[in-house]
């Protein structure tokens, strides 16, 4: 069904929002396609993810993995209590995660609410750290389409390089796949030059079959990234969910030649968890995804554990939380 197409050139999703596979004509055609995807056996998928989680990543491999993980962090603050001061501090940390060590890589992006985009943009300056903004009535997504589009445009106009949208889970769960699809297409248009990450909120989709279908729906609609969670719903990112999404982007590239990124977000707090995710990226999607352009961690506390492990590896000593900066 999906194999046999040579992948000549891999590129980000094309500028047009037309689906590379013409299945989005109606709810019925989308349904036929999405429900025709091979199912996911829950027990088998979880066993595979657990087995990959037993990989032992030590010494040089660990050093590579820690630096890679740091460079993939979307350093996030999405709180009602966020202030300009907090976002500035976050921006400074994103550029120099370990101020005492210039060899420490910068993170991929800071991720904030739309009203903090300008502040974040100023804080990261020309460092190369991207500014991502959640939009579309994050985290519930319960708002009218024009409100969601206005939310998105505001963030882009304020300078956001990346938009993290949420899908309409209610529409998805009630089988209105075309509504979900068209909303993603509309947001993608509103993004203009900004890259679009589509949050599936896998904790509300409940089954791996749904995760796989929602992944394909988001890719067909033109998302540049598929992202697990808002971080506001439990469970958020889990290793098997990330693995199922990585299988989806791998299969999508084989079918269309277009490479899509993956972002697990929420719940990844330890360096050990992050390294497990990188192992899954490496062995399921392949090394092409071992790059901040194609894989991100949406996290706030993860970075400090990565930094502490990095300091341990370079100095041979555990430092402790007083030797990394808070927020």
């Amino acid at each position: 069904m999906l194999t046999g197409m040579a992948v000549d050139a891999v590129e980000h999703a094309p500028e047009t929002t037309a689906a590379p596979l013409d299945v989005a004509r109606s709810d019925a055609s989308l349904r036929r396609f999405l429900h025709g995807l091979p199912g996911v056996d829950q027990v088998g998928a979880e066993a595979r993810a657990a087995a990959l989680g037993t990989r032992s990543i030590k010494t040089t491999a660990k050093a590579t993995a820690l630096d890679l993980a740091i460079s993939m962090v979307d350093l996030t603050t999405l709180e009602g209590a966020d202030t300009v001061g907090k976002v500035r501090a976050l921006g400074a940390k994103a550029v120099h995660p370990d101020p005492s060590d210039p060899t420490c890589p910068r993170v991929a992006a800071v991720c904030v609410y739309p009203d903090m985009v300008a502040t974040a943009k100023a804080a990261v300056g020309a460092s190369g750290v991207k500014v991502a903004s959640v939009a579309t009535a994050f985290p519930s997504g319960r708002a009218a389409l024009d409100v969601k589009l206005a939310d998105t445009r505001d963030a882009v106009e304020a300078g956001a390089d990346e938009i993290d949208m949420v899908i309409d889970r209610g529409a998805f769960l009630s089988g209105h796949y075309l509504a979900v699809y068209e909303e993603i297409v509309a947001v993608r248009e509103a993004c203009g030059p900004a890259h679009l990450k589509v949050i599936l909120e896998t904790g509300e989709l409940a089954t791996y079959d749904n995760v796989r279908r929602a992944s394909w729906l988001a890719m067909l609609a033109g998302g540049h990234f598929i992202k697990t969670s808002t971080g506001k719903v439990q469970p958020a990112a889990t290793l098997p969910v990330t693995m199922v999404m990585l299988e989806a982007v791998r299969d999508y590239r084989e079918a269309t030649g277009v490479q899509i990124g993956v972002k697990p977000a929420g719940g990844i707090r330890s360096a050990k968890d992050a390294v497990k995710h990188l192992v899954v990226v490496n062995e399921v999607a392949g090394p092409d995804w071992l790059d901040p352009d194609w894989f991100r961690f949406g996290a706030s506390t993860l970075l400090n554990d990565l930094l502490m492990q990095r300091i341990k590896l370079t100095t041979g000593r555990y430092s402790g939380p007083d030797y990394v900066t808070v927020d």
Partner: protein
């Protein structure tokens, strides 16, 4: 940005936890004793390093071991209340769990299997088996098979799961009140000898467990011994037939767990990623040295191309090499004889016209290795579709209808296990009921549990091991 390669650095498990002696005697009557015969060497198949000299038991040694077992049976074990026998078995189970790392490392060194597997599969199942049958020891009247033990059990086990096969044999025998004389395989005696130490540590009454090491002649002397009441064998169908001939005409009870040529049937509505995972686990688990290995992949033609593509991609990520490296997926072939057999059958596959594909991987220079391999364009007539290869070699056949899948799956002298992959429950049940195999796995493969009976149809053997059914072999 240049692409980052995440090369896994070597992550070797330390050998220092294991103390391998230069030489080992036999374990008879609760003590290690010198044998009367010669000795043989056991070798690390990953390095060809000689690990230890092990005594080869001759007829006289076997006789002493059977006598010790008989004495322990008559004087102690058969008279002991079940609840008391259970205490010893629980104690053994706990010691196995406590010394699990040591057992896993030694199993990996002597057998060649990856430490990940010895650590995460073999040793936990071994402990679970002893825990499970310990629980039966005082409940035999509810077994449905009576509560009278048979007497002395002669048990001969193979080299592919040395400790696990020991547990499958020893735990139910002891729970039922029998005493045992066990012969481990000549290439993998070390964990059985460590188990003997565990019996000492558990203060198991002397003679309840006796271990005689050696090769075929030791095994012959054991199963042919006139004072043995029960023979239990796991190994090749050829040797199993010879044992059945030896035992015929005596009143010895016999269970055999022999070879297999299992079909793993993948329907077009299967969860493909997990099916591929199950096929890989089915044939490359333990280097394919598994009697119930899914050595024949039967894939529905409508998804054959896609499944093969995914399968090859997955096989290319298998990590073959140092068994003690925690990241190794496929370890060493247990012996040069086995390697020669795998090579011979693979060559026959090519000669008969099947298409050979080998996973790209670098094999170490020393030791015995065989890269994960699959054959396509295989027909039912090819030797690689009929004979047990007992190595990391998968034969791929296709089918068009469920009926054809069943016919092809059953078209073998063996009948140990089978796998079905489909998202459709009714199809799984229908096909499973038509397969002539002792174990049928649905949407999984190679799952073992002490509560579940295991055993074969046809030339795969007779009798069941595991679960309540496993008690039948040791009670009258």
């Amino acid at each position: 940005m240049a692409r980052t390669e995440l090369e896994y650095a070597p992550a070797p498990e330390s050998r220092s936890i294991v103390d391998i002696r230069a030489s080992y005697g036999l374990f008879v009557g609760g003590e290690f004793v010198d044998g009367h015969g010669s000795s043989f060497k056991t070798v690390n198949p990953a390095t060809e390093e000689v690990l230890a000299e092990v005594a080869e038991a001759d007829e006289h040694d076997v006789d002493l071991a059977v006598k010790a077992a008989r004495r322990a049976y008559d004087r102690v074990w058969s008279r002991m209340p079940g609840a008391e026998r259970a205490k010893y078995l629980f104690r053994i189970a706990r010691i196995i769990a406590e010394r699990s790392r040591e057992l896993a490392v030694l199993e990996s060194i002597d057998n060649g299997k990856p430490i990940r597997e010895a650590r995460d599969v073999d040793v936990p199942i071994v402990a679970a088996h002893f825990f499970y049958y310990a629980g039966w020891a005082d409940k035999l009247k509810h077994s449905g098979y009576g509560e009278t033990p048979l007497g002395v059990a002669a048990q001969v086990i193979p080299w592919n799961f040395p400790l696990m096969m020991l547990a499958w044999k020893v735990a139910p025998a002891l729970a039922c009140g029998n005493t045992v004389v066990l012969k481990p395989a000549e290439t993998t005696p070390l964990t059985a000898l460590l188990f003997a130490e565990i019996c000492q540590q558990a203060e198991l009454p002397p003679g309840v467990v006796n271990i005689v090491t050696g090769a075929g002649s030791t095994g012959q002397a054991l199963v042919g011994h006139p004072d043995v009441d029960k023979v239990a064998f796991t190994g090749s169908t050829e040797v199993g037939k010879a044992i059945a001939r030896t035992v015929a005409g005596t009143d010895k009870r016999l269970t055999l767990e022999l070879g297999g040529k299992a079909a793993n049937i993948v329907f077009d509505d299967a969860p493909l990623d997990q099916a591929v995972e199950g096929v890989v686990n089915g044939i490359f688990f333990n280097q394919g040295h598994v009697c119930c290995a899914g050595s024949r992949l039967l894939v529905q033609e409508s998804v054959a191309e896609e499944v093969l593509h995914r399968l090859k991609r997955r096989m290319a990520t298998l990590r073959v090499g140092d068994p003690l490296d925690k990241n190794t997926d496929v370890g060493a072939i247990n012996s040069p004889e086995q390697l020669a057999r795998i090579r011979e059958l693979s060559a026959a596959g090519e000669a008969e016209g099947a298409e050979r594909w080998t996973a790209p991987c670098l094999l170490p220079d020393t030791g015995w290795w065989f890269a994960p391999t699959l054959f396509t364009d295989v027909t039912q007539a090819h030797r690689i579709a009929r004979e047990e290869i007992f190595g990391p070699v998968l034969s791929v056949l296709t089918f068009r209808t469920p009926a054809e899948a069943v016919v092809k799956a059953n078209n073998t002298p063996y009948g140990l296990s089978a796998g079905i992959w489909s998202d459709k429950g009714s199809r799984i049940l229908q096909v499973a009921s038509q397969l002539r195999a002792g174990v049928v796995w649905a949407n999984t493969f190679n799952q073992f549990d002490p509560t579940s009976p295991f055993g074969g149809y046809k030339e795969s053997g007779q009798g069941r091991e595991g679960g309540r059914h496993g008690l039948e072999a040791y009670l009258r």
